[in-house]
Amino acid sequence: MRKLNFGEAIEDALMQAMANDEKIIIIGEDVHGLRLNLRVRFGRDRVLPTPISEAAFVGAAVTAAMGGLHPVVEVMLVDFIGVPMDAILNQAAKIERFSNGKWKVPLVIRAACGGGYGDGGQHEQSLWGWLAHIPGLVVLVPSTPFDAGGLMTAALAHNGPVIYLEHKLLSEALLDSLGGGSRMHASFNVPVDGARGEVPKVWEPIQIGQGVIRRVGEHLTIIAVGVSVHRALEASIVMEKKSISAEVIDLRTVAPLDKKLVIGSVSKTGRMLVVDEDYQGYGLSGELAATALEAGVGMKYSRVCTEDTIPFSRELEYKTLPNVERIVDAAIDLVNR
């Protein structure tokens, strides 16, 4: 198998999908620069740089999809998704329902997400659990190049609106431009297995709603997405030395949830530790608790999430985002309860 960087994998999957399906177009700010290769290959008619008008171009992408295209509309950072939120909340997510299933909205909303490179609280949010609250949306968060390409392929095979989030710490080009990777002394805690890895020659879609067990363990189940999966894996190695055996689930899809996988693992371990870079309250971490309880699975439960606005200072940022120490501490605490 060939190896690609995370961002390259996404581009590669898009390249293959766009070659096969003329209905796929890309819309977004600066895409003539950000997606230069796609623009050069597929032409200016299919890769459309926009004005800074997220409400209009995301709204337009919804009806462009209804009119027969399959747009990939880019909202640079998921932090900016409040700007075009109505188009997502009240249009994209609801039109299939309103039309009684007669009219679908095949649309990928792509955005960069996540923190850990010192860009402050308006540029490092995750918001996947927040978006998942809206019925009608699929929310995808890959953690490896393999999944990044496979989930983009799946998103483009899906006949409905999909939020596709690309973590900046995994994505070389984004980290370079937003984190200032060009300088000598900037250093980021990039998970190597997330940033580069093996990918198939021809992309196959990964089943939406299917998580994966990244590590088998006995004492507790750690559930995460994106960069937090790698933090959890790193923490698991630390725990191993303390004779704690952690199972690590990578959800890959935030909505719909892979309930079976979660319930199965937690039934076995009896403990759930959610590691979520999105805000803690009223989001993914709570939903996972409810999911197990609804299935009648009792458990001990803990979570390591982002509890408040992300501070700019690298030190405070480190403490605020889920990190290996916090995960290890929470796991030890949970196992000893």
Partner: protein, 387 residues
Amino acid sequence: MSFWFKIKPATRFVTKKGMQMENPVEIQVDTVVESSIKTPGPDSWHLYLEMLRSRLYEVEVKRLWQDGAIPGEMHLSMGEEGIVVGIVDQLIDGDAMALDHRATTALLVRGVDPVLLLKEFMGRPDGLGGGMGGHMHLFSREYLSASSGIVGSSGPAGVGFAIANQRLRPGKISVAFFGEGAVNEGMMLESFNLAAAWKLPVMFVCKDNGQAVVTQSKKVTGGNLLERATGFGLRAVEVDGSEVEEVWKVANGELRRLRNGEGPVFVYGTCVHLEGHFLGDQLLRQAHLSVSETIKMAASLVKAHTQSRGAPLRERTASLRETLGILRESARIHRSKEGDPIPILRKKLADMDADKLRQAEQRAQDEIEVIIQRATAPVEQLEGGQQ
């Protein structure tokens, strides 16, 4: 193509008011007047009947709403038929429409089945959207038409349809309808720019009825809307919404330009709100208040006007006067019906051929009755017969 064409099969039932349709005699509908698309000028008879049918249909919608058969809010398009018919009459297969909360006339004229539409208003499982959408969320994939209850959202929606048409159906265009209040909504303004920058085949149609709920739009709008549109690089034209033939003519030229890829246009038309903002509009009700209601409302107002601590008395009186002024103005428009496009054209046609007019109107009335009967028949009765 007349709007009830979409009753499937395309039939008209010979029936009498209130008569049970046990064994209706089916007669193929002959369109009263041929579609005017190919004619050099507007066909006034045709346009009149399109407007009239929509009006009659909405009169029934109003009745059904008042009877409680239609839930929720109900915004009629009564008063804006001139603008809507003058444009939608000229749309063809592949053209798209992005609609606001007053979608009825546009959908009817475009050809959406009036029975399915009315059933949707009533929330019936056999309605256009299976009762899932309701009157603010109407969708016809066949006619590439989508409505939304979010003010301003028809701007981006029109742009999106135009993007799709530009690529998949060259020569086909999209039309976005909205009120003057929506032109202060950011997504609408952004979509003007996007359309201009990308030279999209979209016609933005602003139906200015002067009011947005209880707000007189002039008071909260800076500048002039035609100049505003021009400031985004849009071509901008003005029409008088009380003159459907004029609208038709202007639209005819603009649609040609659009189909030729000459870029987007902003069509600004004035019109009236004949039924207030929505059915049961408080403004209209308050303008016709019962004595007890007046006293009740007055009591809290009197208190607000006189209680200690607050603005100076002069200011209190001025603000009271202002709101009462809006009430009165609203009632005046409602009473005068000035600007209603239907009587204006009717007078002209009556002068031309009063007999023909009477007959055509009777036919339209009959058709509406059939529609209402079919739309209000119990669900069971139709199963099997309905697709």
